[in-house]
Amino acid sequence: MTDIAATPRRDAALTALLRHARYVIAENPVTGFAFALFVLIVLAAILGPDIVPYNPLASDTAQALKPPSAHHWFGTDQLGRDVFSRVIVATRLDFFIAVASVALVFLMGGLAGVAAGFFGGWTDRVVGRIADTIMAFPLFVLAMGIVAALGNTVQNIVLATAIVNFPLYARIARAEANVRREAGFVEAARLSGNSDWRILAFQILPNVFPIMVVQMSLTMGYAILNAAGLSFIGLGVRPPTPEWGIMVAEGAAFMVSGEWWNAFFPGLALMVAVFCFNLLGDGLRDMVDPRRRT
């Protein structure tokens, strides 16, 4: 019985969602394009290893360094591995690193920033001081130092990328929480006897959330670039694991002798992914806050 009752309502909600999505896409075709690209990237990340034509790790020295052809769309690398398969399979790892680091900084920076903006006082000073200290470093250099100190693993790349993004999230969350601190609905909640923590969780956080989500998609591109840069200089991901940054690094040596496809396609994939996240972030920002359109 509950099923029958729920279906029409769910259908209605779905139709409304679809209509809104269609409106947004019609309004800004670029966002629609970016969203389509995003779906493709997610599909490649989920299905990647199952749909690629070759084993990304299987070498075939007879086929080494062949230019793109009908058999090997993106050519083959110095060990005869199929570059196309490797680029597609790498999507999962790169996407995971970006999502994990952005989610981590969302938790750390978002909570710290909201607490700083809401409570003020020493919480604000401590969070502000931490953010300032991180900002005193060139971000990529600090990420290098963190990975070097904590150990050369993928987890530490995720952690380092999250830490260098911390000030950005903390500042935005702080500003958003701060303006709402004295807002009418917060005062009302306080007068009806809610504790500070309850107000923070049920009044402030839900309001700050959309802005932070936009921030997530805006920094996702940077997170991918940062992680790929770290693996390009040889940190974190180790060969033969397919990952875009390390593939570009391995292909770099062949660029000067004309075998461009080795570094070009993983680099292109990286670029397309970052481009997609940036466009998507801009589109989402327009939806959440139309005034900030540029």
Partner: protein, 337 residues
């Protein structure tokens, strides 16, 4: 003006203290036992204990920190394990290479981005405005090491215009006698035009790579702030008074529009100093970035720590300079201080 500079310099001190604390914590966070690490892989337990006492690792953390600060005060950044050289000496010999590259990269991007932003702002929705937007979006999406490799492929392999991406100077040339450490300037001082051309040729591609990378924020900021200034009252008054559009744009609008752009430079430098590491790797540039990368891969921590510290100190100093420059350009900032 002097009070403003001093006040701003005082504000940089907490940042510097933070930087020193973080770099200290980074060494102490090394996986495993730092003493065993510094003693080397073949060390006996006794040797490890000696190293521990020698490095002061048996002392409380706060005392270790004090010792670290005193060492820094004496310019002692430790020795590199792989080369055995003091880190400070190596950083000092390599720093000019990085500085020359970074500054030229910044110059390239300012020379392209500022006019592009101004043109885009004076002709909204024109072809050049769209070009500016495309450049700005592409610029932030391109991985800097990828841009570098594409440039190498096109200009070295395909066209043969650029020399091989192997360092600051072709093997047939000797470096000029050192005055500033910048080959471009030193070769001019030594009156060796061929040497100047040779080092310029090596510099063009990496500098262009860095330039393309930092183009986007500068162009976007110039456009946005020019648009804001051009719609303000004083520009309208200047126009209504019959001043030529060149005077209005350059003398009236541009000077005011530059202020937010200079503020953005702080952020641009943060990206540039990081990107520098990647570009140095692509072009085998013998700067401090590639030094740190080599040390990183050899698990040689002292150079990495020295590098991170140097970069952070330079970045704090650059931000200080930007703020002072801001005060020079805008008298209002001076009055507020």
């Amino acid at each position: 003006m002097l009070t403003m500079i001093l006040k701003r310099a005082a504000m940089a001190i907490p940042s510097l203290i933070g930087v020193v604390i973080v770099t200290f914590l980074l060494t102490r966070a090394l996986p495993g036992d730092p003493a065993a690490y510094f003693a080397g892989p073949a060390a006996t337990p006794q040797a490890i204990q000696e190293v521990r006492v020698k490095l002061g690792l048996d002392k409380p953390l706060i005392e270790q920190f004090g010792r670290y600060v005193v060492d820094l005060g004496h310019g002692n950044l430790g020795n590199s394990l792989t080369t055995g050289q003091p880190v400070l000496t190596e950083l000092r010999t390599r720093l000019p290479a990085s500085a020359e590259l970074t500054l030229l990269g910044l110059l390239v991007s300012i020379v392209i981005a500022v006019p592009l932003g101004i043109l885009a702002a004076t002709r909204p929705n024109s072809l050049i405005d769209h070009a500016c937007r495309v450049v700005a979006t592409l610029g932030v999406s391109l991985p800097v090491f990828f841009t570098g490799l594409i440039l190498v492929y096109v200009f070295y392999y395909l066209l043969g215009w650029a020399p091989a991406p192997l360092g600051r100077l072709d093997v047939f040339f000797d470096p000029p006698p050192q005055v500033t450490g910048f080959y471009l300037i030193d070769s001019l001082i030594a009156r060796q035009p061929e040497l100047f051309m040779a080092s310029l040729k090596q510099l063009i591609l990496p500098a262009l790579t860095l330039g393309i990378f930092s183009l986007a924020p500068i162009a976007r900021m110039t456009r946005a702030s020019m648009l804001a200034v051009l719609s303000s009252d004083f520009v309208r008054t200047a126009r209504a008074s019959g001043l030529s559009s060149f005077t209005v744009i350059v003398t009236y609008a541009f000077r005011n529009a530059m202020l937010p752009v200079i503020t953005t430079l702080g952020m641009v430098f943060s990206f540039l100093l990081g990107a520098n590491v990647l570009v140095e790797k692509v072009f085998a540039w013998p700067g401090i970035g590639s030094y740190a990368v080599e040390a990183l891969l050899a698990s040689d921590f002292a150079p990495v720590q020295g590098f991170v510290l140097t970069m952070a100190v330079m970045y704090v100093a650059l931000n200080l300079m930007i703020d002072v420059l801001y005060g020079l350009i805008d008298p209002r900032v001076r009055l507020e201080a």
